[in-house]
């Protein structure tokens, strides 16, 4: 991944993603070969992560060139690096996050004194929960104090801790919302979609290392093409989606999801190449408000030129960056 624009197509493209329903475009793109088809001679290499920060670290260190990731880690790296690290080239998933709680908690007023989990400190859901609790008038802290204790915990641990009664609830992405509901008998207290205008908020975007983008614009365009194909396929084949996704998850982690879980999860996520750029300033504000992000500019975070080229070629409407980058 040498940053010289003249070096032609690279031998390999390293892509990072989670083996997770919210990363379904990645799973489908790999499983059905959309990426490889679009990339041609450049070989696709994949790495599976289970947390945003680790993905960002790999991206910053050049171990991967592009990644599917939540908006908050993307914002975080962009601001922390002074805009030098990476840009968002496409959207992938929206929706699919919720606050699920145990029996006995039926309204936000039941929450004081409880312990709620999030996937990881500073990730998209963590910030969402903190911002929502602040809206409800509750204090929280990154060190575990406050009216409501927020305990960033590995998703796998969250399920077992919840089952053991050691957690009262969690703000999670799919399929964990569904797993907690179906396997842990939790119920949904807040669906994040209800908090956003038009029920639309970004869950997963496609982020590309800036140096890589500068060196291999054609390769990045091919990657975006693969993403568009995967999203289209998902929207065209809702019936087969679960099977394909589960096949990839099984291949990556050795353990698939139950059909109930995957079906319920897919009901709650939408797949779209629109990264919902308008939501990003709100996310930045949320992060700053809960003291989890350096307040900074995200001007230039988006580079949707390739996406819009592809979309206009197929006659679709271009997508706006809302003034946050190249269109």
């Amino acid at each position: 991944t040498t940053p010289t624009a003249t070096s032609g197509p690279p031998a390999e493209l390293h892509l990072g993603y989670f083996a997770n329903v919210t990363h379904a475009p990645a799973l489908v793109g790999i499983e059905k070969g959309f990426f490889q088809d679009a990339l041609g001679d450049t070989k696709l290499k994949t790495s599976v992560f289970n947390a945003g920060p680790a993905t960002i670290e790999a991206l910053s260190a050049g171990a991967i060139d592009a990644a599917y990731i939540g908006p908050s880690p993307a914002i975080n790296t962009y601001i922390k690096s002074g805009g030098a690290s990476a840009v968002i080239v496409s959207g992938a998933t929206s929706g699919g996050a919720a606050l699920v709680v145990r029996d006995g908690i039926n309204s936000p007023s039941d929450l004081p004194g409880t312990t709620l989990a999030t996937p990881q400190l500073g990730n998209t859901q963590d910030i969402a929960l903190r911002a929502w609790l602040a809206d409800q008038g509750y204090t929280t802290s990154t060190t575990g104090g406050g009216d409501v204790t927020i305990s960033p915990t590995d998703n796998a641990d969250t399920l077992s801790l919840f089952q053991d009664g050691k957690l009262d609830g969690a703000w999670l992405p799919e399929p964990w919302v569904s797993r907690l509901v179906l396997e842990g008998h939790a119920h949904v207290l807040v669906n994040e979609a209800s908090l956003w205008p038009k029920s639309k908020f970004p869950t997963t975007v496609l982020l590309v290392n800036k140096d890589f983008l500068a060196a291999h614009p054609d390769t990045v365009k091919a990657l975006v093409q693969g993403n568009v194909d995967a999203v289209d396929w998902l929207n065209d084949n809702p019936a087969d989606a679960g099977t394909v996704i589960n096949k990839r998850i099984t291949a990556d982690t050795g353990k698939g999801l139950s059909n109930d879980v995957i079906a319920r999860a897919l009901e709650n996520v939408q797949f779209s190449v629109d990264p919902q750029a308008a939501a990003f300033p709100v996310l930045v504000k949320h992060a700053a408000a809960v003291d989890l992000g350096t307040d900074g500019s995200i001007d230039g975070l988006f580079d949707l030129r390739f996406l819009n080229e592809i979309l206009s070629a197929s006659g679709a409407h271009p997508i706006s960056t809302h003034g946050l980058g190249k269109e």
Binding site: K80, S85, D157, L161
Partner: protein, 304 residues
């Protein structure tokens, strides 16, 4: 004097003649040249100044590089960024909380490890069968990185403080026990024999002779045990985050990592280092120095 001390002569009789006295005191004077102690401030200048100056030079060079070359701030923060990060974390109380939590956990875990390791070491040192059967296993455990216990502990105890204590204890007990064993092994057999000759009972022998003689080895073992406690604690705190875990320095490190905040990471590393050094200087070094000096075992390297 009790009646059976008739053999001890009336003092005036045994006192050596003046002739022998002066000869002896002359020889004693010749053979015990007082060693001149270096003055405190000179030791300070010789010992503390050079590394501090070196550090300052290093930090200045680092800051100059950052100002001149403008590396990416998330990959290469400057010393000022680190200081700012520390200041931030201090003003929000995160530093104080993390240090207090970690120190509390470390101290409690270490004390439990001492309470377990000391009788275990005594058993190992004094009961031959226990030594033969258990000794190699304990030495083996000392080889096992205590970080390896973290995953098992999480499964057993969940994300709770019990996990932390378990890992700390598994890390520290073997070295405390082995320290005591080697301390007791190193008691010169001659000292035991003197004790026996002086008529000490088994218990008196243990309390008046063996234990005091084994102290330096034991304190060495404790020091190493603390180092392992601290290491294990950091490992456990970094890996086992979330759940009902409190917020320690390891958690702070992991949090800063997750926020991709390298300045914060470096700040936390410096804190961990500082506390490790401080505990050694404040808690162990004086005890060890006193013990060794009292036995004339402290070698003051003044040349070279």
């Amino acid at each position: 004097m009790p009646p059976e001390t008739t053999l001890a002569p009336p003092e005036a009789e045994v006192r050596p003649p003046n002739d022998l006295r002066t000869l002896e005191s002359g020889l004693d004077a010749l053979q015990t040249a007082p060693v001149a102690e270096k003055r405190a401030w000179r030791r300070f200048v010789a010992g503390v100044l050079p590394p501090v100056l070196f550090l300052i030079v290093l930090i200045v060079a680092w800051q100059v590089y950052v100002v001149v070359a403008h590396p990416r701030p998330d990959r290469f923060p400057g010393p000022l960024d680190v200081i700012n990060a520390l200041d931030d974390a201090w003003s929000t109380g995160r530093v104080q909380l993390a240090v207090a939590t970690s120190l509390g956990r470390g101290a409690l875990g270490f004390l439990i490890a001492v309470a377990i390791g000391t009788p275990l070491g005594l058993l190992l040192a004094e009961v031959r069968l226990v030594r033969r059967a258990l000794g190699p296993l304990i030495s083996g455990l000392q080889v096992l990185p205590s970080v390896a216990w973290v995953p098992a502990a999480i499964i057993w105890f969940g994300l709770s403080d019990a996990t932390v204590y378990f890992v700390v204890i598994m890390g520290a007990v073997p070295s405390i026990a082995n320290g005591l064993v080697s301390g007791i092994d190193q008691v010169p057999p001659q000292l035991r024999r003197v004790g026996i000759v002086l008529g000490a009972s088994r218990l008196q022998l243990a309390t008046l002779v063996v234990l005091p003689a084994a102290m330096p080895g034991y304190v060495g073992g404790l020091k190493q045990g603390w180092a392992f406690s601290w290491r294990s604690l950091m490992a456990a705190e970094i890996i086992a985050t979330g759940g009902t875990m409190g917020f320690g320095l390891g958690s702070m490190l992991q949090q800063n990592r997750e926020l991709a905040d390298l300045a914060g990471v470096l700040t936390t590393i410096l804190l961990i280092l500082a506390i490790g050094i401080l505990i050694e200087l404040v808690a162990f070094a004086p005890v060890e120095r006193k013990l060794l000096r009292g036995r004339g075992l402290l070698i003051t390297r003044n040349s070279k």
